[in-house]
């Protein structure tokens, strides 16, 4: 790890935080290149907010170091760090109008009135809301508030912008729209964004790099596609994207692939997950994504191009129609339900009750040695 290179806007070195006896963050190290969009994705309670609050200066790390633009900020109070933060519920000041909200930080910094006016107007234009300065906060829509919260930070030209689940409070449709918008804003300002979320689709769609966090540690850092296609741990495989998941025992293996029998008695071939070595007799977890399973009618199965080296028969239990994201639940001989994505066009579609064959390639069956736990 390069520790002092100023090419990184932010570096965390073995950062840890305990609350009393409880270790919320357990030694996390990473660095973020200038101008990139970095997400931290993890389940609720894994320590994301704690990590972010340490960066912003609201919590003191128990150990480790934080460097911004190469300089350690330990001991620097939050109002002295050039790291700005967008809060989950935005924390816009309701007693000030939009203009005053954005001007707040500049006033704190002692910037002159004319300069403030110019800067605020400028940032309002950059977020495409040039005319809302005089509005009160409660007169804004959810998406507008979002953008004002970002503008309020960006007008200060921060080294790093922290965003803690900023879309959490928005409704579904708006959240979809804001995802794309946020990414565009980050391009606009060309500032390093650190984005916290527990919603994988937000992290995948927006980020240059994503860290998957679990129980206080980073399980994996990588590009979205890396994480999705080459997860390094069972946790990452299960957390990022949907998966069919089995536990099983390896019957024969050559280290990177082989045969496995699930606890329910299904037999299938697999390839080892990234960086994994799998041996005969290992207890493993196998993940197969629904979109990599093809579902064909039993009657048409023989004609189908059977490029998959795993095949299984079953009966369609139900069809979860959801337009382009439709899915079938297939009940196999052993009674298990397997999810598989299907395209429903309205012509000759699969229906519940039909006998089908599920086909997938061993390359898509990712396998991880099971962590031994009680």
């Amino acid at each position: 790890m390069k520790h002092t290179s100023p090419a990184y806007d932010l570096e965390c070195l073995d950062l840890a935080k305990s609350f009393g006896g409880f270790r919320a963050v357990k030694g996390v190290s990473f660095e973020i290149p200038s101008g990139s969009f970095f997400s931290i994705l993890g389940p609720s309670g894994c320590g994301k907010t704690t990590l972010m609050r340490m960066i912003a200066g609201f919590e003191d790390p128990t150990s480790g170091d934080i460097k911004i633009k190469g300089k350690s900020v330990l001991g620097v109070p939050p109002n002295r760090r050039n790291v700005k933060m967008v809060f989950q519920h935005l924390a816009l000041f309701p007693m000030m109008n939009v203009y005053e909200n954005i001007a707040y930080g500049l006033r704190c910094a002692g910037v002159g009135n004319a300069e403030i006016k110019r800067k605020v107007q400028d940032v309002l234009e950059r977020i495409a809301l040039p005319d809302v300065g005089e509005r009160e906060i409660h007169q804004l829509s959810g998406g507008q508030k979002q953008r004002i919260a970002i503008a309020r930070c960006m007008v200060l030209d921060p080294d790093v912008l922290l965003l803690d689940e900023p879309l959490g409070a928005l409704d579904l449709k708006l959240r979809e729209a804001m995802k794309i918008e946020l990414k565009l804003l980050q391009h606009q300002f060309n500032t390093t964004f650190i984005y916290i979320t527990h919603d994988q689709s937000e992290a995948l769609v927006m980020s240059d790099n994503v860290a998957i966090m679990n129980q206080g540690i980073f399980e994996q850092i990588g590009t979205p596609q890396d994480l999705y296609h080459h997860p390094k741990t069972a946790f990452v495989a299960g957390f990022v994207g949907d998966s069919n998941r089995w536990s099983g025992t390896v019957k024969s293996a050559d280290g990177t692939g082989g045969k496995v029998e699930t606890d329910q008695g299904l037999s299938m071939s697999f390839s080892a997950g990234a960086d994994q070595t799998i041996r005969d007799g290992d207890k493993v977890e196998i993940f197969v994504r629904p979109e990599f399973i093809r579902t064909v009618r039993a009657s048409e199965a023989d004609q189908a191009v059977t490029e998959g080296d795993n095949q299984m028969s079953g009966v369609i239990d139900s069809l979860l129609f959801n337009g382009a994201n439709s899915r079938v639940l297939v009940r196999t001989g052993s009674g298990e339900l397997i999810e598989s994505d299907v395209t429903v066009t309205g012509n000759n579609d699969l229906k519940p009750g039909e006998d089908v064959r599920l086909i997938w390639s061993s390359r898509q069956a990712m396998c991880f040695a099971r962590a031994e736990s009680a």
Partner: protein, 290 residues
């Protein structure tokens, strides 16, 4: 902001001191002083001794404890009436009136607070007396043949007291009922409950903290009121605060007055403690919330 633990300590101390000064100097010490005083007995002019004489006096004199019991039971009655009369009003304001009417009605409820006890009682005297407005009105309508006296009896006292305190019943009730999701009531009906069932099993249990808060404040205000029972009361209505006043002012017996004060405080506290126990509430989640 952990780095400055000392600042935190300091600000805690700074915040605590006004509170401590207030509670200590104006509440705790005066009450300790009153307790001490209540244990003093005057044996001769300017000569005092510690004893239980003032309390024994109370126990030995049925007039006193009768008055205390009377004050207590009338206060309970007033509290119950205030609840019965006030609940439907609070419910109307919180749940039935439109959002715009709500604020207006609530404001109207606060009207009695605009003027002092004295003026309120004064108003009632003008209304209730034999030659007052109501009596004259009844005469005029022909409902009665001769003037009727409504003043100077227990009923007048109760009317006056209910009037004075009902606001303190309605305010906490409105605020708890306001917090109740309407769909809770609708769910009660939807699942087959009659109006009465919904009231008994859903609305009242839900409003319980508000009911208890209202009852406590109402009861305390009633038991501690002075002007209303004095001004509206008849020849038989004595009120315990009046006796305290008499001890202090007419009889120059501060020691006895202090003892009576303590007794009133203890008595009302016990009633409230019982009420809290019976309703399974605590002071913190009722009065403190209102």
């Amino acid at each position: 902001m952990m780095q400055n633990k000392d600042i935190k300590r300091l600000s805690l101390i700074l915040l605590f001191s006004p509170f401590a000064l207030w509670i200590l100097l104006l509440i705790i010490l005066p009450h300790i002083g009153m307790v001490l005083l209540s244990f003093r007995e005057k044996v001769a002019p300017r000569v005092y001794e510690y004893s239980f004489a003032n309390y024994l006096d109370f126990i030995n004199e049925p007039i006193y404890w009768n008055t205390l019991l009377r004050t207590g039971s009338m206060s309970l009655l007033v509290t119950a009436l205030a609840l019965l009369i006030g609940f439907p009003i609070a419910y109307y304001i919180a749940k039935i009136a439109g959002p715009r009417a709500r604020g207006g009605l609530f404001l109207l409820c606060l009207i009695p607070l605009w003027v002092s006890d004295l003026i309120r009682s004064f108003g009632w005297i003008l209304l209730l007396r034999e030659t007052g407005v109501i009596s004259n009105f009844l005469l005029w309508t022909g409902l009665v043949g001769q003037p009727v006296e409504f003043l100077y009896n227990d009923i007048a006292v109760i009317i006056g007291l209910v009037y004075t305190v009902i606001l303190f019943m309605i305010v906490p009730l409105v605020s708890t009922l306001d917090g109740m999701d309407n769909s809770m009531i609708e769910a009660g009906y939807n699942l087959g409950g009659s109006g009465f069932t919904v009231l008994r099993r859903i609305i009242i249990p839900y409003a319980m903290p508000g009911i208890v808060a209202g009852c406590i404040v109402t009861f305390m205000l009633t038991a501690g009121s002075y002007l209303t029972p004095i001004l509206l009361g008849g020849k038989n209505s004595s009120w315990f605060t009046e006796q305290i006043y008499n001890q202090f002012i007419t009889r120059f017996n501060w020691e006895g007055g202090a003892a009576f004060g303590m007794l009133l405080l203890i008595f009302t506290s016990v009633v409230i403690w019982l009420g809290l126990k019976l309703s399974g509430q605590t002071l913190a989640n009722t009065v403190a919330k209102s």
